[in-house]
Symmetry: D2
Subunit: 405 residues, 4 copies
């Protein structure tokens, strides 16, 4: 806190916590605050954030409210989906992938407004602080990053609310008590963690879910859809061309309706502890399965297996906050190179929590009915070749066996 800060760009949601942070920055650092509120598709109105910021004395030209939904899906979600990234086997990285974009805008706005610092509302126990700060430092090594949760003494809910009231920050009634869990949302997912979710043996109460219906309440009839891909990215739903964000939003509607994409996970945080999270990624889950589906007929085995081997590291890098690190970019270069022919159409069946690929076709298909058929293949494949193939693959095993018997 001893550093002198002139102007700071705050990732500002308009909610109680970041409003407290805003005020705390003004009070503690005596600095000017620039607010940045991003529309990432979290489904909240953003204009109230403007009013609140103005109330706290932020200059109108220092209030940034940006719709970054298309950029988010096009430049972050889709590239990640090309890799079939799932952290620890399951998690589609919905929170992790939003942080680099927010950081990028924070740093850009700092440059535009001549700010020397940025600030975020992530706590000192989580991954998000790491993701924000690694991204900011990678984009501007001289930027200062303020993480109030690691600095201040408002460590209890009561202290926070006291501070708010002393500083004329309105406290909504439902924020007075402890919230039963904390959430993060964007166009890709909603995550919930903490409080009622902290015992990993207890099933998540149904009221925690906000983005999907309970599969038990989903329609009794399945619904079939198609997704078209071009060069590894989704471009159309049921034959209708859509922009990245529009497509993901439409898949979210479908996923919500059919109860798709719920995930209850105990995961390993980068900071060294395990946490239990509840994720809802309705459209993302459908999209991820469809992407694997189109790859299954358009990617060569060598490319596909290499992608599978690289994926865990790639997902870990994003989870840990290394989106802007050279090794993530190297892996992306390899992955993107593989996607040139990943075009075609996938058909899926959506039904009560399931999103199942049931068909796939492509002008670039490598699937050869002529080769695989049980029927006469007209000479496409000579079964006798298999004998030599096996013999030479077996040679080293035979030599081993001869030695070791």
């Amino acid at each position: 806190m001893s550093e002198s800060i002139k102007r700071v760009v705050l990732a500002y949601s308009g909610g109680l916590d970041t409003s407290v942070i805003l005020k705390w920055l003004q009070v503690t650092y005596g600095c000017e605050v620039v607010t940045f509120t991003a529309d990432l598709g979290q489904g909240e109105e953003l204009e109230p954030a403007r009013a609140k910021a103005e109330l706290m004395g932020i200059k109108p030209e220092h209030i940034y409210i940006d719709d970054v939904r298309e950029e988010f899906v096009r430049d972050f979600v889709f590239p990640m989906m090309r890799a079939n990234a799932r952290y620890e086997g399951d998690y589609l990285l919905g929170t992790s992938i939003a942080r680099p974009l927010i950081s990028k805008r924070l740093v850009e706005i700092a440059r535009e407004t001549g700010a020397d610092a940025v600030a975020h509302g992530a706590t000192g126990k989580g991954n998000d602080q790491v993701r924000f700060e690694l991204s900011c430092y990678a984009l501007n090594p001289d930027i200062k990053v303020i993480a109030p949760w690691r600095e201040w003494d408002l460590t209890s809910r009561t202290a926070l609310i006291d501070f708010a009231e002393k500083n004329q920050i309105p406290v909504p009634k439902d924020k007075r008590g402890e919230s039963p869990f904390s959430t993060d949302a964007n166009l890709l997912h909603t995550s919930s963690e903490g409080k009622v979710l902290e015992d990993p043996w207890q099933e998540t109460p149904d009221y925690v879910y906000s983005r999907t219906v309970n599969p038990e309440d989903a329609p009794d009839a399945p619904e079939y859809i198609t997704i078209d891909f071009e060069r590894g990215d989704g471009v159309a739903l049921n034959g209708q061309a859509m922009s990245p964000a529009t497509l993901l939003a439409a898949l979210n509607d479908l996923g919500r309706k059919h109860g798709i994409g719920r995930l209850d996970l105990v995961e390993n945080r980068f900071v060294g502890m395990k946490s239990r999270g509840m994720y809802e990624t309705p459209g993302g889950e459908i999209y991820a399965r469809a992407h694997r589906g189109i790859e299954s007929i358009t990617l060569d085995r060598g490319a596909a297996h290499l992608k599978d081997e690289l994926m865990p590291k790639y997902a870990e890098l994003i989870y840990n906050g290394f989106w802007f690190a050279p090794e993530r970019e190297m892996l992306q270069a390899a992955i993107d190179h593989s996607q040139e022919k990943v075009s075609g159409t996938v058909r899926l069946k959506l039904y009560k929590g399931n999103a199942s690929v049931v068909g796939r076709k492509s002008p670039n298909s490598l699937y050869s009915e002529a080769h695989v058929t049980f029927e006469d293949d007209a000479g496409a494949y000579d079964q006798k070749d298999a004998a030599g193939f096996i013999k030479l693959n077996a040679l080293r095993l035979k030599l081993l066996a001869k030695r070791d018997r």
Copy 2:
């Protein structure tokens, strides 16, 4: 065919195809045949195979009918499940993992009966020939392997049936026409491929499935179960201790009822072509999810991530037939080392195709509510440590950014 064969052990199902092979071996090689029929839990009566073998002149002491279900699950399926192995992201390797066991018994029986060769009924286009033969050669480098499908000229269904009729092999009515698809079954799964499945754009007809009800026909109420694990292996269902094969069979019943474990996949065969397969792995799917669930609270992050990175290669080795190769054994040693503390209980919800982990607990849990809590953690974690952690993780990125701006 020029080699002189004295006695051959045939992997014999008792069905039409392997009966034709039996006769063909007798006719072509003029050799004695020993039959081996394994009960892998495929759900067929095996005694008819004995009668058929006897009819074709096999000596009683040369007819082997073995129940290998416990060995199959204990020594093959469970070790593989410890690795969370899925080939190409999804396939639980139900066929692949049975082949090494059959091969092992073929080689053992050859030794017992003084046979100099083994024979199998796999075709020249598939993976199974490779799996059988690599395993046999690895276990006995001097064994001869006969693969009739690569040698004979019975390349059409008609030729095969002609041969059967000329040799007094009964041909069941439903085998006269082309079968609409071909299947393989054992306690872990049933696979179907070929014929009506050969167009990957066409949805699999419902009559292809034999091990699971259609999720749409599954019960409307979810069912909750628990699975207990000891050192990485399942030991009890709903608190009731069970042997490996018994546990998997009970999970199969549950999976069948709730329509769990169906998979429609276009996969890459080791022999270089793509094929479309339909898999049903009802109990295996439940078990695989449960295993990841118990690992999530008992495995350290370092171990868990290393396992995830090694998994694709491990799965590929099994798929390609390298179960008995040193590199598979090395990976198994690493994986098994990680499982010592993987004990505890997982609770799952089964519902219309979904098997979701909803709770997990363990005496060996590494999940620390004290650390992760949003509440006061009584000093378990000092949030200020995060600042240094981030700073040093960022250092190389800052140096990069300074250079590259």
Copy 3:
């Protein structure tokens, strides 16, 4: 041999073996032969090959003699060196990397001359047959490949020489007996294997080496050189700009003089057996060390470690003949992405078999004396950050230790 071949492009060295092949192709297939002789820097005159080809009736317009040295180094050797590729820890892949280029020209010349086949002189036991054929098939899936050594019955030296004499092919005196070993050479290396080298316990006789002096006979005084790199590729020696092939040739002269780059290796062939090879890669060894040297100050740790992890697979792909496979290209995309800033100068000391990096500098250096100094660093690095860094890295280990005590 039953296939009808109209015209075949032969990789023709002009030596006895490929002359026999040329004639054998004419005799056996009754087809027209196109010869392709590549100057890869093997250090032999190529014009005699033209005369010999003409003598055997090849049309002048069907005799291709191409200098591909620059293409070889620029498009094959240097990209491979960017990866620091060494097969099985040591081998610089000098033979492996030449095969895709020869194959590429064979396929191009087949297209130009309307040939339907290509032929090579590699034996059925080695890796080269695989490398040639995989590359040819990848570049033209319809091409036929003839591998006479796998087809003909000239399986003894005597039979081969008889065939030559019956067909008026001149047999040099020194080829009458068994050659004591067989060699392959190009601008990157000379390899020797077989015969006197077949016992891996016996030291290689000195007469096997042809590209380097014995270190014991090398100059008693060390020589210092500098190599300049631009974006990962060498561009100058001792400050003098050079083309890729010129640079490698100059390094070869230096390496020869100082006895650098000898390697005696037992390696694992793709076809399943071990072989013992003797390699001389004088310039390549110097270059490889220099490349690592320039990377050491210009590559970020994340990029460097990812490269090291990917390298064994990359080297294996090249060794096994998969240069034109998508997974090699994906890895190349990742590697090339890392090289953008790999520019600067490396200083090496050459002395009796040693090529040691003794200095490196770069305008893109990431080495920060300000950070690393034992002296006062003026605040570049706060040592207290290390405490938090260690604490959070230790957290999971502490949780493990608490559980397991």
Copy 4:
């Protein structure tokens, strides 16, 4: 410094720096100090450390001087060598591998003496602090670790010497000025860094080397040696059985004489910066090459390549201080599994900086002259098998080429 410490075990060399630390601990924490001085083969007399400790008031029963050389080589160096570990392609990890052993003894002695803390003399910029502390925490999660260099204000050489003089700690004359570089030594290596080495463009002055003669001053005649291995570990030199530490010491003598094992490296520290180090690993370099040599004829390709793929991660773990982490142990389990048959004899030629494998033999050799020979192989290998092998390996590339033309 606010924590109350009762008794602390200090890693004590007896030199000026750790003597200052000893006193500083007494003064600052008012606690009892236990000293631990390890004989790791660094080649210094240790008894003077006892006298100094006594002078500073350490109770005799609290002065530990242990010869851990055999444990060091047997349980740390040799297991690491089984993996062929080299960090960033070259560094044999001589410092890194000693830290876990020292940490283990610190924690053991703390338990024996009832100490609640340990202390080390590593600075806040290096890797050693991380290695010490991660190891200590992994072995005793409740131990406190004091790192004086991160805590105190003796940040200049002058301040340190002032403190020494004020506290009656003798300051040797040669320690008054700045040392031109700093070193670490043990039986495996000596490292030097800092000061005169800080400019990576400047060649290391010859006076920095202490463990090896300059290759230019090494004998003009090569020397041949043999090393015998049993199950992956060295057991004899020139046919004479030796304990691990004795063998390494004998190889050090040979390496010193022939100028072997010098390495000038710019490496990436775990704490995020690059540093330039000078390493001398005379015996280790010879041993490492010999180990690869014996593996080359006794390890199967699958095992060998898997080891090569795992090695960079394994080396990174040791470098970063994660010796006692589960993922290092998992990798060790895999590596050790591969070593069962790695027995036999390697012959090396030592000459002016070079340690070259020139012969290897083993009762477990997988090298088959019968297979590899250019001569008639009596049917060991059927060259025609190669055709099928290549055809099926090419199949996917052909399908790709057909699609993409």
